[in-house]
Symmetry: C2
């Protein structure tokens, strides 16, 4: 039986990123979200699979890039092709969610949307669905809700969300009021956050009524709101043309920064152990993979002689490692990466260097 609350659930999958930190596996037309980085399947396909028990496929909307749209449509055949849209330009999450809210409202004024990055890993899907359902129910009561993850290490690459002392009950399915958003901290600060127990990592997963989001967008980013509100009804003949004209003029800004940090009364759920990783780099993927006794993780056949802690992604060939440690080795038909695992965050710099050299074929 489908409850009234469930009827109005919609999922927005945000699939616009490039994931240059996964070069050379990721390319403009094969970005991170369509890659099978963990061996379980393409990340965006896993994202949809996690959601389908909660949301019918017709209630899913995907925003991606022009380069990726066809690949995403092939990977998500259940989702109506017209609901897998290319953003005319990348404008970060605040305008993208605004656009989605407008599209959903054209169909259902009571739409309650969940927002999900297409390229994260969630190892325990059932646990994720329990807390996502609770968050959706809370959002249906007219609240802005987010799902945060308990920090496991003093990571300086994430945004943190502060809660009142002792307010968090991880995995309890009870929300707590957000006290404050904290941008990426330095290491000492991140350590303090970790010790205090009052902080969650911002996982970029949100729930709210579409109408409420547009209202907040009008207050926080009136220009962007006006441009999105000016669009004709979704599905009308003029929609695509108008979108191509209007969207690139929207502010290029994240929902966290533009809207959430300026909104009182946001609620947060502590996800508990859902096995979340943002898969931010090859290092994060390495951490998830099964390893041999020497800590080597490999896709493709591996022969390791006195080699430890290496991540190898070279399908279709044998890779022999001799005396090397803590490397990332990624082989493709036209490009090969050999990097220190500790430098995994910097792989995107290679893409910038290739762009500077005009090597477009490798991007």
């Amino acid at each position: 039986m489908v409850t009234k609350e469930q009827q109005h659930r919609y999922a927005l999958i945000l699939a616009g990123g490039r994931g240059t930190r996964f070069w050379p596996r990721s390319r403009k037309a094969h970005a991170k979200q369509v890659l099978d980085l963990t061996g379980a399947g393409p990340l965006i396909r896993l994202t949809l699979d996690r959601l389908l028990p909660l949301v019918p496929a017709q209630n899913v909307l995907v925003l991606t890039s022009g380069e990726l749209r066809d690949a995403v449509r092939r990977l998500l055949p259940e989702v109506p092709a017209g609901r897998i849209l290319a953003e005319p330009a990348g404008r970060n999450t605040a305008p993208a969610i605004g656009l989605a809210a407008k599209i959903l409202l054209d169909r259902d004024p009571e739409a309650v949307m969940g927002v999900f990055p297409a390229d994260h890993h969630i190892g325990r899907a059932a646990a994720f669905r329990r807390v996502a359902s609770a968050a959706w129910r809370e959002a249906a009561r007219g609240r802005m809700v987010l799902l945060g993850v308990e920090p496991r290490r003093p990571d300086t690459g994430y945004g943190y969300i502060e809660f009142p002392k002792d307010a968090l009950r991880p995995g309890s399915l009870k929300p707590a009021p957000v006290a404050r958003f904290r941008e990426k901290p330095d290491l000492a600060t991140a350590r303090r956050y970790l010790r205090s127990g009052n902080y969650l990592w911002n996982a970029g997963i949100f729930f709210w009524p579409a109408a409420l989001y547009l209202e907040r967008l009008r207050e926080c980013l009136p220009g962007t709101h006006g441009r999105i509100a000016s669009l004709p009804r979704f599905g009308s003949r003029r929609f695509s043309q108008a979108l191509a004209e209007v969207f690139p003029q929207c502010d290029n800004i994240s929902v966290d920064y533009a809207v959430l940090e300026r909104t009182d009364g946001v609620l947060g759920f502590a996800a508990g152990d859902i096995g979340w990783s943002d898969l931010g780099s090859f290092e994060a993927v390495y951490e998830l993979l099964e390893k041999d006794a020497a800590g080597n993780a490999a896709r493709g056949e591996l022969l390791a002689l006195e080699a430890r802690g290496n991540y190898v992604d070279a399908p279709g060939k044998l890779t022999a490692l001799l005396g090397v440690e803590d490397l990332i080795v990624v082989d493709t038909a036209d490009a090969l990466l050999v990097a220190k695992r500790s430098e995994a965050q910097r792989v995107g710099e290679i893409v910038k260097a290739l762009e500077a050299r005009g090597l477009r074929g490798l991007l």
Copy 2:
């Protein structure tokens, strides 16, 4: 004008090895001697080019393996195909040189043969030819002659040749009597050799009358000599069949150990600066190649970010290195090697491991 001495010159190119330390670039059917490791051309082709000003192509004999014979014939079209022979089995240098001596004597009883490894690098060909000519002339007087290389470092991987104190005059084109052969020394001994100035590296380059070699073989390895002497005349119908029966029964032993160490009156030439390297490993090749400011040597396009001292052989693709040092990276269609440069001598162990796993397609 060709002198009488030059008329009887013959060159034997020994091309039977596998060069497993160059895997995955080297394979059974593409062994080290047919590879272009330095960018100047296939090593065996360069070996012939060095010799052609001294010896006509019809006077060249090549011994190789069955797997390599066709490749060698394609690389050395000037050498009559019938003079590029496959050994029925690898039996090291003493029997191979004996077989060659027998073949040459069938044609020319006054043959004076030079013996040359197919897979060494000699950067200064003209200087090499000056000393090789002198050695050939000396051999034509009925002597066993070798060409040694002045040690540049206390290498423990080479054989050393001792000479009487102050007898060596490097590059002087005057020979000195060999005092003694010394097998691969330990490091302290190698250092002593280097300091004394009385030692040369054994480069595996020899000159002698073919008849004299067979005489010495009869005394040192009578069984092997008897088998080779039993072969029918080279070029006769029954030769190949008889060779296939007889050769595998020969002793498996080097000319140094079986013959030279037991022969008095061997003469040695100190080669002087001929730019010799045995190219014993990727490390030796790396030392020869041009490098960028950070010491990276690459075949194929390279993008190096904070990467130093790496050897990359990945033609046809771009290799990006990030934060890595002193690595060997060799990419082929079906196999990829990533090794520490300091472990270059051990690459052959990978080939042994592949054999143990039954991965014949990669050998």
